[in-house]
């Protein structure tokens, strides 16, 4: 196994520095939201981790297409890494949402369509691992996992479309102008986009590291040299 690529080292260091930096930005730079108070600050990492989760599922499907067209196992490693990291980000999004919901809605969980579908989406990607574990050969595992990742990415937008047809109590952040549920001040916007960028860097870093682990595992399974 070659040494860590330089770019990956840079990403590692960037993630280590930028996550606390974003935290400082959120805690000390942004104003407190008028009605919700300090708990609103969960929002920045909540949306950022939801975004990172979604992005990694798209990466997983893209890598699935890559595998099916090239039949190179590297794509399968990438797809697996993206799903694994995406599931973690999804859990972070759900957990941080619950922390926000307790003081605001007075319960940890509401059976709102948006929350319920997000939770089911999380289960959908957990099933990805169940599917993989039941398949015997490396080739079948890679092929069917790729198919499943692709089908999943087709359904998820449909699900989100379907919940747009419901009335939801979940705040809508990205909405047509004029109908925004809450307006962000310029400082809030800075922290919001900074969190998105930082989480995207962290996502790339984690997927890449996980990919290297998958490559190492494959090497060991082949008898290593």
């Amino acid at each position: 196994m070659p040494n860590k690529p330089l770019l990956l080292r840079v990403l590692d260091i960037l993630s280590i520095i930028l996550i606390p930096a974003a935290l400082v930005l959120i805690l000390f730079f942004t104003p407190e939201e008028a009605t919700m108070g300090a708990v609103q600050k969960v929002f920045y990492f909540h949306v950022a981790s939801a975004w990172a989760g979604m992005l990694s599922f798209v990466v997983a499907a893209g890598a699935g297409i890559g595998y099916l067209t090239t039949r190179d196992f590297k794509w399968d490693w990438l797809s697996l890494s993206a799903v694994e990291v995406g599931v973690v980000f999804g859990l972070v999004a759900i957990a941080s949402g619950m922390i926000w919901a307790k003081p605001i809605w007075n319960v940890w969980w509401v059976w709102d369509p948006r929350l319920t579908t997000t939770a089911i989406m999380e289960l959908l990607y957990l099933t990805y691992f169940i599917l993989r574990s039941g398949l015997n050969t490396m080739e079948t595992r890679a092929r069917l996992a790729a198919v499943y990742a692709i089908i999943s990415v087709i359904t998820v937008p449909l699900t989100f479309l379907s919940i747009r047809l419901f009335r939801t109590i979940h705040p809508v952040v990205i909405a047509p102008t004029g109908s925004a549920d809450f307006n962000m001040s310029p400082r809030m916007l800075v922290a919001f986009f900074a969190s998105l960028v930082v989480f995207t860097i962290l996502l790339a870093d984690l997927i890449w590291n996980r990919y290297r682990l998958a490559a190492l595992q494959a090497k060991i399974n082949q008898g290593g040299n």
Partner: protein, 227 residues
Amino acid sequence: MTGFRRYLQTVWAIFRKDVQVEWRGRQGVPVMLVFSLLVVFLFNFALQLSPQLQSGLASGLLWVTLAFAATLGLNRSAALERENDALNGLMLAPVDRSAIFFGKTLSNLASTLLVAFILMPTISLFFGQNLLKPALFLVVILGTGAYTCLGTILSALSIQSRTRDVLLPVLLYPLALPILIAASEASRGILSGQTLGELQNWLYLLLACGILFTATGLLLFETILEE
């Protein structure tokens, strides 16, 4: 043109084969039917339904029961191809694999619709709400169409796994979520007296699911079955 005719003939041959096997063995539909009736009755106990609640729950009950029953049928139909290596025989046939997909989807749809059409008057009878409305039949056909389409794709995936008997529902339910949401919302609307025009968003969503999953099967079925 002749190529397309041959394609349709293949689809028809696979559909006919499945129907014939079912007719002679009667191992799929009766099981689905008895199972779905059991679910209907168990629901009543499990939820301790009062008469007022019963009528409101009819559409949800219909779709949950159909979703469960269809899984049994899909599993059975996939297991049929595994027995005696029938699947290898199908794959050796010099035909387009997507024709196999359409044939299997049609036969799965036929058995699920049969169950649905028996289930609807049954629920009407026992839950005191008339489900026999033309608009509801349309929703049931659209919903089960999209559902069996997706189910057929996923059953081809799950039979290749060691955990094949239990894997299909786990794969299918979360992916079928948009179908189930749209179908049960549309059914609820119809039963509470809304017109199809008011529910067109849900119907379009069902249609979109059907088209998308048909396209998915068309494109990916070959990849799923290759060995």
